[in-house]
């Protein structure tokens, strides 16, 4: 006789998500940019188009084995730090400018959705998986030095009371992966005022990258499901779905790789994003499945997450 017994609560199930080959982010605008008028918006979108064509051509040449690569495009609206313009006003402006310049936006996301999406605190999920880069000699015997709300790419200068500083020489901070000389980066992940936590822009951008790479799960389930644009636009951004699917025929929102076309003012933010992403302990099962599927499709991905992220920093020249 063959018997079997299972308890559902004792198992962990991991939900799969669909992947495009590449997820392309089409610039990032602050709310203030939208206040500068329609012409400004047109100029910004016009700047994206040639870079998009160039990078897609380059991607296709690099992955010539893929007969028809699935590429989805997305646009992130910064509604977390200010929500000056209501969706009903902003979305038509953006779509109009994109259509006029021949730029296809498949998905529209709001940045506040990287903090909380459909009741799930995505930023907290990522913060809970941070494993800080160890200095040589770290053997587990002492707790990791954690400054609440900060994450660095190495070891900070020793901090001592002010009077002690007078007696001791200053010691420099050290980048863990320095090539002889350090470029030490310390990233603020959040601040808290009156008990209310505000996530920093790099932290939300790190969540944004993980979302686009399809690597985030909550209790094993995928965290964001793109939804169509609401028939009636809500008065404020919190009423919008975290990710709106504008193009019904779009390739999946998440991609095996991501490419971000950004203005060069975002360079320091993206460096901070990479400091964060390098220290997120990934879900081994999700990683294994993504690597397996990408491999099967003939587009193997680097095993570490930062290797899957590409950029073009667009300079006005």
């Amino acid at each position: 006789m063959d018997t079997s017994f299972h308890e559902v609560a004792a198992q962990r199930r991991t939900q799969d998500v669909a992947y495009a080959h590449l997820s392309v982010e089409l610039d990032h605008l602050y709310m203030e940019d939208f206040l500068l008028g329609r012409d400004h918006l047109r100029r910004r979108i016009a700047q994206i188009a040639p870079w998009y064509d160039t990078t897609v051509a380059s991607f296709q040449r690099r992955h010539a084995a893929l007969r028809s690569p699935r590429i989805s495009t997305c646009f992130l609206v910064d509604d977390y730090f200010s929500d000056l313009i209501a969706p009903a006003e902003l979305v038509p402006q953006l779509l109009e400018a994109a259509a006029a310049e021949g730029v296809r936006i498949d998905y529209l996301a709001r940045e506040s959705g990287c903090a909380v999406a459909d009741g799930v605190e995505l930023a907290r999920l990522v913060a809970g998986r941070l494993v800080s880069v160890p200095a040589q000699g770290t053997n587990g015997s002492r707790p990791p030095t954690v400054e609440s709300g900060w994450l660095s790419n190495g070891q900070r200068s020793p901090s001592e009371p002010a009077e002690a500083l007078l007696l001791h020489e200053w010691k420099p901070p050290v980048e863990a992966e320095a090539r002889r000389h350090s470029i030490f980066v310390d990233v603020e992940l959040w601040d808290e005022i009156d008990g209310k936590r505000t996530w920093s822009c790099p932290m939300l951008a790190a969540v944004w990258q993980l979302l686009r790479l399809g690597l985030l799960r909550n209790q094993g389930r995928s965290v964001v499901q793109p939804r169509p644009l609401p028939d009636e636009m809500p008065a404020d951004w919190s009423g919008m779905p975290p990710v709106v699917q504008l193009n019904p025929k779009a390739a999946p929102f998440s991609g095996y790789r991501t490419l971000s076309l950004l203005e060069d003012r975002f360079l320091p933010i993206e460096q901070a994003v990479r400091v964060i992403l390098g220290q997120v302990a990934q879900d081994p099962e999700v990683m294994q499945r993504v690597e397996h599927r990408a491999e099967q499709e003939g587009m193997p991905v680097p095993s570490d997450v930062t290797g899957r992220i590409a950029y073009v920093f667009m300079t006005d020249f």
């Binding site: 017994f5 308890e7 609560a9 004792a10 198992q11 962990r12 799930v120 605190e121 907290r124 999920l125 913060a127 809970g128 998986r129 494993v131 800080s132 880069v133 160890p134 200095a135 040589q136 000699g137 770290t138 053997n139 587990g140 015997s141 002492r142 707790p143 990791p144 863990a176 992966e177 320095a178 090539r179 002889r180 799960r217 909550n218 209790q219 094993g220 992403l277 390098g278 220290q279 997120v280 302990a281 990934q282 081994p284 990683m287 690597e291 193997p300 991905v301 680097p302 095993s303 570490d304 997450v305 930062t306 290797g307």
Partner: protein
């Protein structure tokens, strides 16, 4: 030594496991009783060991309430000892989880796999966070030598990998939780089980039986050395080496749990000094053990079929259950004798009183 940042691109093609096919894992488990006067309810247990946001605490009810937390990762870059006395530098992350059995016993367990292929240099940290629970040595090392070195750790200098400290920190933090009432129901000692496992397919090796060695190193320290060969091709495709590692972790926790329960109950009996007269006092002293521990004995209940032979082997020698049954019989005898004594006292009282019907 400085390290270099490299693009992680070619890394996917690197073998993730082992020289010669056998994977190496090492770990250390702390076992003790929750600082709580009764059995902690299921929901409170889930909250107590909710260590990673968004990751479930896995709970089961049969044959005994059992809860297992998600793994928390810690980064290390340190030396690990080898059996030949040399030491090898390794970089990566180790994982730690907590388990609560029967709402009463707390186990904190840290472990890691070791890839001894020798990466030559420390890689970008994102390389290590992409595969939590794996250390990579910088110089090539021999898997058996790593296991021997890890178990001989007492003799090693302090700067080597210290999984025990990580387990202990989680135990302390858990015990300080406001979910617990802080009342320790009985006196006991924490035990430490340090284990190593060589497991998986070994190309060229003929069908070998699993082997295990359990050693009582001291009053509170135990060591377990496991060899779990799995003939290539026998396991279903869905079962990678990690499924086997999960089963090994379960076996180690199960052995640590039963060793701790047995140790705690037998020490209690020894201390109670059953031969010496005052039976009411003896029963009173044994009571916490009866209330809190006796029902926990379910050897091998959670162990995978593939590893059941190891429990069976330990049941033959030294015979955990044999010793357990003897201990339980002594406790029950005390209870029976005490009950008889009480009944005798009662019936004497009855006989002394003249009641007419």
């Amino acid at each position: 030594m400085r390290t270099q940042t490299v693009s992680g691109y070619p890394a996917a093609t690197r073998a993730t496991n082992a020289v010669g096919g056998l994977a190496v894992a090492v770990g250390e488990i702390r076992t003790g009783l929750l600082r709580h006067s009764g059995s902690l309810p299921k929901a409170a247990v889930a909250e107590l060991i909710d260590l990673v946001p968004g990751e479930p605490v896995r709970q089961s009810e049969r044959p005994i309430a059992h809860a297992l937390s998600a793994d928390v990762a810690n980064g290390v870059d340190c030396l690990i000892p080898t059996g030949t006395g040399s030491r090898v530098r390794a970089v990566g992350t180790v994982l730690t989880h907590a388990a609560v059995v029967g709402g009463r016993v707390l186990q904190t367990s840290s472990y890691t796999r070791i890839d001894p292929a020798g990466a030559q240099r420390r890689l970008a940290w994102s390389h290590y966070t992409a595969r939590p629970g794996l250390l990579e040595t910088l110089n090539r090392a021999d898997p058996r030598d790593l296991c021997a070195g890890y178990l001989a750790q007492e003799d090693q200098p302090l700067d080597c990998l210290d999984l025990g400290a990580i387990s202990e920190r989680l135990a302390r933090r858990t015990q300080a939780s406001p979910l617990l009432d802080g009342r320790q129901p009985l006196r006991f000692q924490w035990t430490r089980l340090r284990w190593t496992a060589l497991y998986g397919a070994e190309p060229g090796a003929t069908d070998r039986a699993p082997a295990a060695q359990f050693t009582l190193e001291s009053d509170t320290v135990r060591s377990l050395s496991l060899l779990i060969p799995r003939p290539a091709g026998r396991a279903p495709a869905s079962q990678g080496p990690d499924d086997l590692l999960d089963a090994i972790l379960e076996l180690c926790r199960d052995l640590a749990l039963h060793d701790w329960v047995l140790t705690t109950v037998t020490r209690r009996i020894e201390r109670t000094d059953l031969g010496a007269g005052d039976r009411a006092r003896a029963v009173e002293e044994l009571r916490p053990a009866i209330d809190h521990l006796l029902h926990l004995w379910m050897p091998g209940a959670r162990v995978a079929d593939e590893l059941a032979a190891i429990w069976d082997g330990f049941e033959r020698r030294p015979g955990f259950t044999r010793q357990w049954e003897a201990a339980v019989a002594r406790v029950r005898d005390q209870l029976a004798l005490h009950t008889l004594q009480l009944l005798a006292t009662l019936s004497m009282k009855d006989a002394g009183s003249t009641t007419e019907y």
